[in-house]
């Protein structure tokens, strides 16, 4: 069932004017918003219908922003009715083409241009995520039900890669905390492990053992529950492209990009700190925390500054900020922790 509800886009609020004008996507969405507004009555009644249907299955969280509708997966499939947030206000968005053609996603090849090409046949639907480990009981949830766990929001986040470049990405997703609440971890759960899909048929890069597949990442419970942590299901108003981690990936903007596990199929709650793929591959280079920190240098790359994608040939570098500029939101979690040791 496809229902279009009023979208909350107020372009002038978040997107810089020149970016907005350049982006067909936004114009189209604004158009959809107008149509939806004009047919508000109809959509409201339809909305109510979805609510009842969903409530009867007991999987719907409270919706403050109306229903979010996600159609079956397809290229450039719009997500309608997500809420805008003030995150990233004033940031200049990275171009859609840059975000979707410059990817570190070794399951589809180690060159950054490869994922966009090699992920074309990847099937993000049907998709289920299994919840296990230190939980009340093991269970699984479909991606469609995850969409319904909480109202989807747009979060414009900076993303800083450990290699010294950064982007600004308008993700759409839901707070990870909502998913964790649904998962019902028990008192022993101190960490959350995210495990990506292992499927050499769909992910040709896994034929080469550059990493120990499947890809694994992890967070401490408080990090996972932090309001900044989201499970992204879309970007730029559309469903997440395969090369960006469809159908669901982790986004923790105060950490280096590799923390963002993509195509997640398993979430495991553990008492002990999980061993992540990159920790295993290079323990001296990649730590569990991987917080963006200009004071802690990487053996290969300077972490004091970064290149912003889209700045052009003569754009130079910008200073990297502590916790990627999110100290206010996350700093307190690391009080008393030696960040040089726990890098």
């Amino acid at each position: 069932m496809i229902i279009q509800t009023k979208s909350d886009i107020i372009p002038s609020e978040i997107t810089p004017k020149e970016v907005f004008n350049n982006r067909r996507d936004f114009i189209q969405q604004a158009g959809l918003g107008l149509i939806a507004g004009a047919t508000g009555l109809i959509s409201q009644s339809l909305n109510a219908a979805t609510l009842t249907a969903a409530e009867s299955t007991g999987k719907l969280a409270v919706r403050s922003n109306g229903s979010t509708i996600i159609k079956p997966y397809g290229p450039h499939q719009k997500i309608v009715g997500y809420a805008k947030t003030s995150y990233g206000a004033g940031e200049k968005l990275s171009a859609y083409d840059d975000i979707t053609t410059y990817n570190n996603y070794y399951e589809f090849g180690t060159d950054k241009s490869e994922p966009a090409i090699n992920s074309k046949l990847f099937k993000p639907q049907p998709w289920t995520v299994s919840i296990e480990g230190e939980v009340k009981k093991n269970k699984t949830i479909s991606i469609e039900d995850i969409y319904k766990l909480a109202p989807l929001e747009e979060r414009i986040y900076r993303m800083r890669c450990v290699e010294g470049w950064s982007m600004v990405i308008p993700w759409i997703g839901l707070p990870l905390a909502q998913l964790i609440k649904w998962a019902e971890p028990n008192a022993n759960a101190k960490y959350v492990e995210f495990i990506s899909l292992a499927d050499t048929q769909q992910m040709p890069g896994q034929n080469i053992q550059v990493l120990d597949w499947p890809y694994r990442e992890g967070l401490r419970m408080d990090e996972a529950m932090n309001p900044l942590s989201i499970m992204a299901v879309g970007l730029y108003g559309e469903q997440l492209p395969n090369q960006n981690g469809a159908p669901m990936r982790l986004v923790t903007p105060w950490k280096y990009g590799f923390k963002g596990a993509k195509a997640i199929v398993k979430i495991r709650f553990t008492e002990k700190m999980p061993l992540t793929s990159w920790m295993k591959a290079g323990p001296s280079e990649y730590g569990f925390y991987a917080n963006v920190n200009p004071q802690v240098d990487h053996p290969r790359w300077t972490q004091a500054s970064e290149k912003r994608i889209g700045a052009g040939l003569f754009g130079g570098r910008i200073k990297t900020q502590m916790f990627n500029g999110y100290t206010e939101q996350v700093g307190q979690m690391y009080a008393g922790l030696d960040l040089h040791k726990n890098f």
């Binding site: 990275s94 171009a95 083409d97 840059d98 975000i99 053609t101 410059y102 070794y106 180690t110 950054k112 241009s113 290699e163 470049w165 080469i208 550059v210 990493l211 591959a281 290079g282 240098d297 053996p299 290969r300 790359w301 300077t302 004091a304 500054s305 290149k307 994608i309 889209g310 052009g312 040939l313 003569f314 130079g316 570098r317």
Partner: protein
């Protein structure tokens, strides 16, 4: 006399080969220009230029190092005439590589550059390799060759060290997928291995040997 000498090109042909090699060596440079004008240097154009110029510097260096093994294995010598041009093209791409690093990547921020070189072995090794190419480029002309004589040869043996440093620099760049630098390391090992093998053989042959090494005879004949 030898069957190889049949394949030796005439002076005119060599000139044409030189022109062709010269133009071929310019292609990567022109390609960068072309892609730049098309705004087609990927999402990270600076990194693209750094990688591309670094790649071609290393590639041309490997090509330069192929010329002597070809002589040792086949007895052909005419290709040695391409060595200086290839060596200088390697230097050209190395210069572009370091210029893109100093200018585009670090905007001449010397403090940051110094930190980057001193803190990261990968950069230090690459920087050392570049510094070592400078005297080779300066002494690449005939006048210097005549002036330095035997010392010129010794000096230009630095190229082996430069090649090793270059491959290490590439190896330390990649995070996990070492296939490409591994390929370069193997090629370099073979190229140096052939030299070492022939060097050892020729040392032995100084002893009362009836047969001088095949290659040496051929070189004399051409």
């Amino acid at each position: 006399m030898s069957k190889f000498s049949i394949a030796t090109p005439s002076k005119k042909q060599i000139l044409w080969i030189k022109v062709c090699v010269f133009l071929a060596c310019l292609i990567p440079f022109l390609r960068l220009f072309y892609l730049g004008l098309q705004e087609n240097l990927s999402a990270n154009p600076i990194e693209f230029i750094e990688r591309s110029t670094g790649f071609w510097a290393l590639f041309i260096l490997m090509a330069t190092l192929c010329l002597t093994p070809i002589r040792l294995l086949t007895g052909r010598v005419w290709q040695i005439q391409l060595r200086r041009m290839l060596g200088l093209f390697m230097f050209f791409y190395a210069c572009l590589h370091i210029t893109s690093y100093v200018w585009l990547d670090f905007s001449f921020d010397w403090l940051e550059i110094t930190k980057d070189i001193s803190k990261h072995p990968r950069i230090l090794v690459g920087f050392a390799a570049f510094v070592l190419t400078v005297p080779l480029a300066i002494t690449s002309n005939n006048a210097m060759m005549k002036l330095l004589r035997q010392r010129w040869k010794t000096l230009h043996q630095l190229v082996y060290l430069i090649a090793i440093l270059g491959v290490v620099h590439f190896w330390w760049l990649v995070k996990k997928d070492i296939r490409e630098p591994l390929l370069y390391a193997c090629v370099l090992a073979v190229l140096l291995g052939i030299r070492i093998y022939y060097k050892k053989r020729s040392k032995h042959s100084i002893a009362p040997s009836t047969k001088p090494p095949l290659a040496k005879t051929l070189v004399k004949n051409t």
